[in-house]
Symmetry: C2
Amino acid sequence: MSSDEVPHQGVLRPAPESFLSGELISAISRDGIDHHRRGLLRGAFGAAVAAMAGSAVASDPDIVTPPEWSRTLGKPVATNPYGLPSLYEQNIIRRQSPGLTQTDQASVAFTPLQSMFGMITPSGLHFERHHQGWVDIDPRRHRLMINGLVDTPVVFTMEELMRMPSVSRMHFLECGANTALEWGNSAVPTVQYTHGMLSGSEWTGVPLSLLLERAGYDRRAQFLLAEGADGSSMTRTINMENALDDAIVAYGQNGEMLRPEQGYPLRLVVPGVQGVSWVKWLRRLEVGDMPYAAKDEASHYVDLMPDGSQRQYTAIQEAKSVITAPSAGQKLQTKGYYCITGLAWSGRGTVTKVEVSVDGGRNWREARLEGPVLPKMLTRFNFDWVWQGDAALLQSRVHDSTGYIQPQRAELVAVRGTRSIYHNNAIQTWRIAPSGEVDNVQLG
Amino acid sequence: MSSDEVPHQGVLRPAPESFLSGELISAISRDGIDHHRRGLLRGAFGAAVAAMAGSAVASDPDIVTPPEWSRTLGKPVATNPYGLPSLYEQNIIRRQSPGLTQTDQASVAFTPLQSMFGMITPSGLHFERHHQGWVDIDPRRHRLMINGLVDTPVVFTMEELMRMPSVSRMHFLECGANTALEWGNSAVPTVQYTHGMLSGSEWTGVPLSLLLERAGYDRRAQFLLAEGADGSSMTRTINMENALDDAIVAYGQNGEMLRPEQGYPLRLVVPGVQGVSWVKWLRRLEVGDMPYAAKDEASHYVDLMPDGSQRQYTAIQEAKSVITAPSAGQKLQTKGYYCITGLAWSGRGTVTKVEVSVDGGRNWREARLEGPVLPKMLTRFNFDWVWQGDAALLQSRVHDSTGYIQPQRAELVAVRGTRSIYHNNAIQTWRIAPSGEVDNVQLG
């Protein structure tokens, strides 16, 4: 990808600039937000804050003359009946990686993780991965069929599905190919492109178990084939165990109907499982007694091992984490305090701990987790750090509720080799140079 | 408001139509999604599902000839670098209520609760309440000053604030005037207008306690004055207790920067407290030793009591709930199963139970709560109901972690009278006629 295509910290964007070029702020204690240590905090910050304040006031024309927005009538309510981000944020968008795929319809647009907060991905920034482009289906004409090893094949309209018992649950969605280029030596320039096929949303729909009960599935049932209504007819095998556990036939995302790029009006949600199995524009579920070996599970989405064999049906997204800021392509402008922030998740359960290292994995300290910490959902972590101006190697690693610990890249490669595309959950390293510049490096 | 201004269930909208006009679905047991009772479920649904399926297949041309979206190439990724809802959803927008206020800059646009899911409000549908219109402030020029009873007055840039320790938390935001017209006999036509000044978001920013510590607040400090940078210079008194507890100086909402209509680039978040105190475009916090009696707390946002006295500084939003569907303006098209759904919240803590009545409060049954149930955040509830075609009176009531139970309207009016504008948290009643039409009624 070309370097001029990565304006991840444009002039209109306050977040990365702010994060990276602020006035000097003195070091704070690790317990900076612990109310029991106010005295310590007050002492640590007094001088630094006074210095900041003086310089800001003296140099600021808006303090002397109120800015225009404080002196004029603003815009009416409902100027935008469906609201949009600030004009100053128009650089924070999902971005395609030119050359990564041969056509723009079978391609990827990545989420700008480096500029985002919390655990919810706004639907407008949700990553895209299509196999024959996206479509905006008329919901009055859309149908879901359930056939195969069932008492009676059934066809549901959207009206019927939306009248049924519904659940709402928050889950992450990660493409199995997220972080794929890190298997090689490619230094992908930003976290948007290394980890940006990742999102966290609140999904609403009908429990898949309920629909299967309604169809009356056979005792021989062990697998489902899920099929999409777009031109690619994406087909994937789903384990019956996943289907009956926490899978959802979803029409809602983050409080409203699914977006077209996310499968409007209906998609499958299979928590913990790679994104390709969350079939979009879902039109059919076939109940069967063996895996279907569809194109996208026989020739794609398989893992090439060092001995030349292929791992197949490796659908679960293992525990993984990444520091989203500071991250490659950003620059630390001054020494002093930084709030290192990132995301952690596990397809097998709940995040129990995240640790951060600033020396390439020699020493680790525990990060703060922002709640609620939910199963198979993103967890935001924050970590207080004072940069002294030296070179540093930033890493994060997650522990999950199964006891699993995210591996270093060398550990993962020792088992998996470097010829895979999918399922790279290695620890990511960002190198900070004494100049403050941050880039993507691979250790070992 | 005029009736032609309320197209809450337009032709392009699948949700209300779907919810209301689906094929007959037979009754399901209350334990419809309980995996331990699959046998019961299978028995209950078999016949109904078979009937549905037959009719759907026979009448559906798309089953015979695949629809055009299954036979053509879709749109490229990043067609919309910042994504938008489906074209079929363009009727689901926030709406102003003409005539409610004298100018469109000091007005309200309401959230379409009747068409929404879960507990997250997408930022594009967040309600608006401005006092002199909304502005889109250049974040590079925005400042936050902390002055008053502090060791040293301080001024922060956005860059400085965004480098500080941050937290992300989910909280509801409700205008103190939400449901105001229900104090009178006015039959507001939809839940969008009765309860649509309500949202649930994930907020990210600096704990206010940390900023106050940095400024070094005085021992005499008991109150804050929060001031906005828009033309109205909205000013509100905040209790120091709230300020030091869980208040946030927020720049992030639902994963991205605040929207302009929500105070970009900085607003105050005061969980549990009415919206007017969550000052938008926040530019100043003054520490003081007494309430400030600002315009919007001396002459507005006060509660006129039956004896002619005024309650002042009644900022906490008491526990409240509302059924969002079926709700006034919708129509049940057929008998059979409905999933009654709604929202519950408490400014004093956590929702512990929601009950639903279909007979105007004589009998109550417990609803399912969708997790996670978080303090001072919306909780989605769902309730299984079989409509037999008779008249019905739908109500919900919430219990919170303090033991408080949401009052019937008559109970609230017995204490507060009917001359208030603000802080109406009474149980809402929707009447269903034998025709299936739903309207807004007041009992007792």
